[in-house]
């Protein structure tokens, strides 16, 4: 066994709350060896970040403090070191990468400056040497045009590039231990794949021991040598990655793994999971929603007279149908126009094109759509907390659409609200409480109840489960499926998570740069992806199975280009050609996708 | 001259153009920069020729002939001539000059056309030769010689006025004892002695530094530290007692009288003051002694419009004695037994609002409910100039300080019918045709032999005015000048009744 570098023993970390100290890391112990990757997994709030901050001595002051235990780095107890000595450890012996590449770099300093600082702090050297070393590490993290990057500011880089810079900074002094706290959570899957691949390659070259913190079991399976699963501050399971995945001892771990959606789990099945895999029998039904040539552009103004100078081509000529009882999913990476499509259907922003819902054409001009049309489409948003007025009780919130549309009042209203609460699995007495008194999953149930209250024919669900922990996510997905089975409601399901989409959809549309590049039955798209972008997307998804680990991420490179163009820009429209039953793929346009 | 002194003022010096300057601060500066045909003997109100060596008056009092002093040089080196006299007065009455003093010269022949801009100059001024100038009047004017001593009649050289145009006031050129050396707007002015001044040995100083923007209290503190020689705004009320009770400073203070009366105007056009009984009642109700106490005894209670120093002051007149009970009775007789409400306007600079409040309390005791409007001076003046705006005005801060020591100056604009017009200064809107006629008669008594009789007539006029009680004369303010110990001058010079605060030409330093 390689040399033991870090040893954590009985670590207890507490945070001060209004009701007294709360233990958030509770007697955690583990060892870390040279060249090893230890994953700490667990759901939100389980204490993963607190653990890493405790080790680094960077707990938020004065709320949190280490209440007991030892953190031994090659035998020295870090917890006993004075701040001065700890500074020599940080960045030098133990380096750290944080979750949010967007906010973890100082916005007012150049990359070169921030990187140079990391180098010269622990190893004072003349400026020119610092520069060449900085350049060297940037090259090491395989960033494009490294010389140029040195002079750039963080906001000029994409998320993936920033995370590369963070890694470069962490590796600048060849640390013994690298702690990466959710380093890829904020990134798109393709970028995530690139970063994970990079970390693996670098580890191979330098032998740095990595503590990788993540809630994504796919990432764990991909990266870990050993795994610790945390729940409520305690390690409930630990062991080698294959042991944990194949023979989880703890019930919590088992539940967790069971809830994780796996890409490929539906291979060979036609319909979504909720229908036991049965495909929708469409028959002669007319489409419930018809969207033709939907285009949304945002103006960017500037110049002397604030004239439109550029446009964001958020959605370009998107067409699709949704049939009664069907779930159509839109997938694609950040910024590709998924949400904009959904919001345009809700008439929440100005759009062009043609939309027919349940036989009624929608007027793109009026923001205040006729109420009757509005009743047929409802929306569930990504962040359930943000989409509920925090000052109202959830009872009022669920009743509100009914009141607005004058559908019920008095005891009838009461009954209806009660029914809805029951339907989404919330206790009826919860109606008097405010949104902040609920958990994330419960809040999303409130949102669903609210959307259901008008008995819409179609619900647009925009990343409605992305913010939830996997176990909760599974429950909500199940609820959505049940509702569909019961009432034949249609969903437009917007998500970037391929595994979830696979589970829930009848049909899938893949969006890239504001256009649909591939659309078809879920099975056809997932099992026989035709467009290069779809392929790339599929291959980037980490599979929560340590045996299916990818050794090379070589397929996945490149960044997504910007959708901002000048006024005279004429987009190349994707020419969708049919290649199978209802399966359409863009052939000529958007070649850069691959 | 030798040495330099520092004088401070709170407000800016606005202009040094003698045709325009009419402020407390610039009045005596202009006097030191320019000379008129006439002047007063330093420290007194006695008229003497200045740029004139002599003058004659025709028997009908309609023609004045001045013989001019020879060899007097303007600061620019040119000799002063008779044509300058004519130019100066033509300029003052020319409406383009916008001189606030133009009206003083309304008795000169040709004034009407000249001041209306219809004629280029005054017909009544004739340049006889370089050293003789003759004035023809349209009516006898007993105060004419005083007017020739006014700043507005101080002689300016045409070429300098032409050169600087509207900015002549910033670049004054005169014949006076001092000339302007430096002027930093808003900060300081430096005057230096005129070596060619026509009176030998004058001025006694080398230079005078005037610093503006200095609060009176600050000025006094600086004077106590020896940084300032004369506090131009006098001893501030806040420091008065302190200074007067301090043996160290007591000797530095010189007091004197000035031609000032502080009064309350009662608008005879607005009820209840359209009733003479009410006006008399108010006269009896105001406790002047207490008001004088409130301003720390820096004044003497007054009972008539004229200040004691003014010829024509009636020493026998007792006025309305303080008698609130009698006042109440009078008010009842006038039909206001249940009291009456009215408004008192006052300028909003200390101590005026305080005095107004003292008056307010006095009137409250006889059942008059007085509301105070404490406004910027300009707004008070504007209100006074409208017949129906200001029932009462306390004149403090804008009060009448005589332009020249002659009783006529206290009548026309402020008590005569001529002033009771929109925009006028007769804020009582008091117009007694009979008295106006008497006033014209008095003004026509220009013959020196009639001087005595003329003064008697004026005395009579002002006593009769008090019967109608359009004013409440409250007090005559005393002058208190404090100077630094190193400054030497006779007391009379330090409280010169014409040059305020001091007669710069006659002071010296140790």
């Amino acid at each position: 066994m390689p040399e033991k570098i870090l040893e954590v023993r009985d670590l207890v970390t507490q945070v001060a709350t209004s009701t007294g100290p709360k233990t958030v890391v509770d007697g955690l112990s583990f060892d870390l060896h040279r060249g090893e990757t230890l994953c700490i997994a667990g759901e939100s709030g389980s204490g993963k970040s607190m653990t890493s901050l405790s080790i680094m001595g960077l707990l938020p002051q004065p709320m949190a403090k280490v209440a007991g235990g030892k953190v031994l780095l090659r035998g020295d107890d870090l917890l006993k070191l004075p701040e001065r000595a700890m500074r020599d450890i940080r960045g030098n012996k133990i380096a750290m990468i944080f979750q949010e590449p967007m906010t973890s770099l100082n916005p007012v300093l150049t990359i070169g400056r921030q990187l140079g600082e990391a180098i010269s702090t622990h190893d004072p050297m003349p400026g020119s040497k610092v520069r060449s070393r900085a350049l060297a590490v940037l090259k090491q993290v395989r960033i494009s045009e490294p010389e140029k990057r040195l002079k750039q500011y963080p906001h000029e880089l994409s998320g993936g590039m920033r995370q590369r810079v963070m890694i470069a900074m962490a590796l600048a002094c060849n640390p013994d231990v690298l702690i990466a706290d959710e380093p890829t959570t904020a990134l798109d899957v393709t970028i995530q794949a690139q970063i994970l691949g990079l970390m693996r390659d670098l580890q191979r070259d330098t032998g740095t021991a990595i503590i990788l913190i993540t809630h994504d079991m796919g990432v764990v399976a991909e990266m870990a040598d050993r795994v610790i699963v945390m729940n409520q501050g305690k390690a409930v399971e630990s062991g080698s990655v294959t042991d944990v995945f194949e023979a989880p001892a703890d019930p919590y771990t088992r539940g967790l793994l069971a809830a994780v959606p796996r890409l490929g789990a539906m291979t060979g099945i036609d319909g979504p999971a909720s229908t036991n895999g049965n495909a929708l029998v469409r028959g002669m039904a007319r489409p419930l929603v018809t969207v033709r040539d939907l285009t949304v552009r945002f103006d960017i103004r500037g110049g002397l007279l604030q004239r439109v100078q550029k446009r964001v081509h958020a959605v370009e000529n998107v067409s699709f149908d949704i049939f009664p009882g069907e779930t159509l999913s839109i997938v694609g990476e950040s910024g590709c126009g998924k949400s904009t499509t959904g919001r345009a259907l809700m008439n929440l922003l100005p759009w062009q094109g043609e939309v027919v819902i349940d036989g009624k054409e929608i007027d793109a001009q009026s923001r205040l759509q006729t109420k009757s049309v509005r009743r047929n489409v409802q929306m569930i948003f990504q962040d359930p907390y943000a989409s509920l007025d925090p000052r109202m009780t959830v009872g009022e919130l669920v009743a509100e659409p009914l009141v607005i549309h004058g559908l019920a009042h008095g005891s009838e209203l009461q009954d209806r609200v009660e029914y809805l609460f029951n339907r989404v699995g919330l206790p009826v007495d919860a109606a008097k409480r405010h949104p902040h008194e609920f958990s994330g999953g419960q809040r999303q149930r409130v949102c669903i109840a609210r959307a259901l209250s008008l008995s819409p024919k179609v619900i647009i669900a925009d990343e409605s489960v992305s913010a939830l922990d996997v176990s909760v996510q599974a429950q909500v997905l199940e609820l959505l499926g049940e509702l569909q089975a019961e009432s034949g409601i249609s969903y437009l399901f917007i998500s970037h998570d391929m595994a979830v989409v696979e589970q829930i959809s009848h049909r899938v549309a893949v969006m890239y740069m504001g256009q649909v590049v591939e659309i078809g039955p879920r099975r056809a798209v997932f099992e026989n992806p035709q467009h290069p972008y779809t392929k790339k997307l599929m291959s980037a998804v980490p599979i929560p199975d340590p045996r299916k680990r990818r050794e090379h991420f070589s397929l996945i490179t490149g960044e997504i280009p910007s959708p901002v163009h000048g006024l005279d820009y004429q987009p190349d429209y994707a020419d969708l050609t049919q290649i199978g039953a209802q399966h359409f793929v863009a052939r000529s346009a958007i070649k850069s996708a691959a | 001259g030798e040495g330099s002194i520092t004088v401070t003022y709170k407000d800016d010096v606005s202009t040094l153009d003698p045709a325009i300057g009419y402020d407390w601060q610039n009045w005596s500066m202009i006097k030191s920069l320019f000379d008129g045909l006439m002047d007063y003997k330093p420290g007194t109100t006695e008229l003497v020729p200045d740029l004139a060596t002599d003058y004659t008056v025709s028997d009908d009092g309609m023609t004045y002939t001045f013989m001019l002093r020879k060899g007097v040089k303007f600061h620019n080196g040119r000799e002063f001539k008779a044509s300058d006299v004519k130019y100066t007065l033509d300029r003052v009455v020319n409406p383009k000059t916008q001189s606030p003093g133009a009206g003083f010269f309304d008795t000169i022949k040709g004034f009407d056309t000249a001041s209306a801009g219809e004629a280029d100059g005054l017909d009544g001024i004739e340049v006889v030769d370089d050293y003789t100038v003759k004035f023809t009047l349209k009516q006898p004017d007993a105060a004419f010689l005083h007017k020739m001593a006014l700043n507005f009649a101080h002689i300016v050289p045409k070429e300098a006025v032409d050169e600087w145009g509207q900015d002549f006031g910033k670049h004054p050129v005169g014949t006076g004892a001092f000339m302007l050396d430096e002027w930093t707007l808003g900060q300081r002015l430096v005057f230096k002695a005129n070596p060619q001044y026509h009176i030998a040995g004058i001025p006694k100083l080398d230079s005078i530094v005037v610093e503006v923007g200095q609060e009176p209290v600050v000025a006094l503190l600086r004077l106590q530290r020896g940084e300032v020689d004369i506090a131009g705004d006098g001893i501030p009320p806040a420091k008065f007692l302190e200074v007067m009770n301090d043996p160290e400073y007591k000797d530095l203070v010189v007091s004197g009288e000035q031609l000032h009366t502080g009064y309350v105007t009662l608008n005879t056009k607005i009820p209840p003051f359209d009733n003479v009984k009410v006006r008399q009642a108010v006269n009896m109700a105001v406790n002047k002694d207490r008001i004088v106490r409130v301003i720390n005894g820096r004044a003497v209670p007054a009972n008539q419009p004229l200040p004691p120093l003014m010829p024509g002051y009636n020493t026998d007149y007792k006025g309305y004695a303080f008698d609130p009970n009698k006042a109440k009775e009078l008010l009842a007789e006038a039909g206001y037994e249940d009291g009456v409400a009215t408004t008192l306007f006052v300028a909003n600079t200390d101590p005026q609002p305080r005095i107004a409040q003292a008056i307010q309390q006095d009137l409250a005791s006889i059942g008059m409910k007085v509301e105070i409007k404490s406004l910027a001076q300009a707004n008070v003046i504007a209100a006074g100039g409208e017949a129906d705006q200001a029932p009462m005005i306390w004149s403090g801060g804008m009060a009448w300080i005589a332009d020249f020591p002659d009783p006529s100056n206290f009548y026309g604009p402020i008590l005569g019918c001529g002033g009771a017009v929109p925009g006028g200064w007769n804020w009582s809107w008091y117009c007694n045709e009979e008295l106006d006629a008497e006033a014209s008669k008095a003004d026509a008594m220009a013959d020196p032999s009639q001087a005595e009789a003329r003064i008697d007539l004026w005395r009579d006029i002002f006593t009769k005015v008090m019967d109608d009680a359009p004013w409440v004369p409250v007090f005559n303010e005393q002058r208190y000048t404090i100077r630094s110990p190193r400054l030497v001058a006779e007391d009379a010079i330090l409280v010169d009744p014409v040059h305020i605060p001091v007669h710069y030409d006659y002071i010296a330093v140790k």
Partner: protein, 306 residues
């Protein structure tokens, strides 16, 4: 960038135009009649009428205003009614004093305010922090005339450390600057404290610490410039407060700036001066804000001027 500046200047010009209309209209409505004041107390009605005509005061409002505006566009603020001097000249003569005072006050504000705020944030919830915060609360609560008179009394009259008012040397500048800066220092320290607390919680500060940087470096290089950003916008707004403050502070200390000029003019309703000072102040405010907006991108590269 150029387009941005041009647009902002255009906007500023429009605002100034608005300010001039409103002020002119307000002053037009003032009850005092300038012609009468100029004419003096011995003037006849004809003289007054004549002067009114000369000054164009008998014209309808809009014509008067357009005349004024026309002159203004040629850089002519008109002539003071009572001082008979070019208003531009009067303002120019006094502006340096006001600018000096402003510079002194801003210096005091920033020095005291930023230091106190930063110390408060670093030592948050200690007695040092609490004391500083109470002092800055007093700062924002104390009227400038009270502070001014108090300082004058204490440091000039009683202790004699500084001259009692006046203008000229550095020691003259100290008390007025401090009296004027005290209020702003209070604001800045409170803003700085919360801004700094905000920044110290940011991820990039944690990153900097994770790199093993020393406290001073984390503070000055990473936290300080970021904490400064919201404060720069404040400095722009501050200029408006200054313009109000100078009227009071200059009169307490006898400082020969445009505040005193304005105050004297208001007392005597010398309309051209009031107009001029108002416009100059409005200019300063608008310029201050523009400048602040232009400075921010120099520190913060994320902000692009469009």
């Amino acid at each position: 960038m150029i387009a941005y500046i041009l647009r902002r200047v255009l906007q500023a010009a429009l605002i100034l135009l608005g300010v001039s209309v409103v002020t002119y209209a307000l002053l037009y409505m003032l009850p005092a009649d300038p012609a009468r004041q100029i004419a003096g107390r011995s003037a006849t009605a004809e003289t007054v009428a004549n002067i009114r005509e000369q000054l164009g005061l008998n014209l309808p409002f809009y014509e008067q205003y357009l005349r004024y505006l026309g002159n203004l566009l040629q850089g002519d603020f008109g002539r003071s009614y009572l001082q008979k001097t070019e208003v531009g000249e009067l303002i120019a003569a006094r502006l340096p004093a006001t600018l000096l005072l402003m510079a002194g006050a801003i210096f005091c504000e920033l020095l005291l305010g930023l230091t106190a705020g930063a110390i408060g944030a670093i030592k948050r919830n200690t007695s040092v922090d609490r004391t500083l915060m109470v002092v800055s609360f007093v700062g924002v609560s104390a009227p400038q005339f009270v502070v001014g008179i108090l300082m004058l009394y204490l440091f000039a009259v009683v202790l004699g450390w500084f001259p009692i008012g006046g203008y000229g040397t550095f020691s003259h500048l100290v008390l007025p600057s401090v009296s004027m800066g005290f209020l702003g220092a209070g604001w800045y320290s409170r803003m700085m404290r919360s801004s700094m607390l905000d920044v110290l919680r940011q991820d990039y500060v944690r990153t900097a610490r994770a790199k093993g940087l020393g406290r001073a470096r984390v503070f000055f290089v990473h936290a300080f410039p970021n904490a400064l950003l919201p404060i720069i916008a404040m400095i722009g707004i501050d200029i408006g407060m200054f313009m109000s403050g100078i009227v009071v502070v200059e009169s307490v200390f006898g400082w020969p700036g445009i505040g005193q000029l304005a105050w004297q003019a208001i007392q005597r309703v010398d309309i051209p001066i009031i107009m001029g000072v108002t416009l100059v102040s409005a200019c300063a405010i608008v310029l201050g804000n523009l400048l602040a907006d232009l400075v921010v991108p120099l520190i913060d590269p994320r902000i692009k001027l469009r």
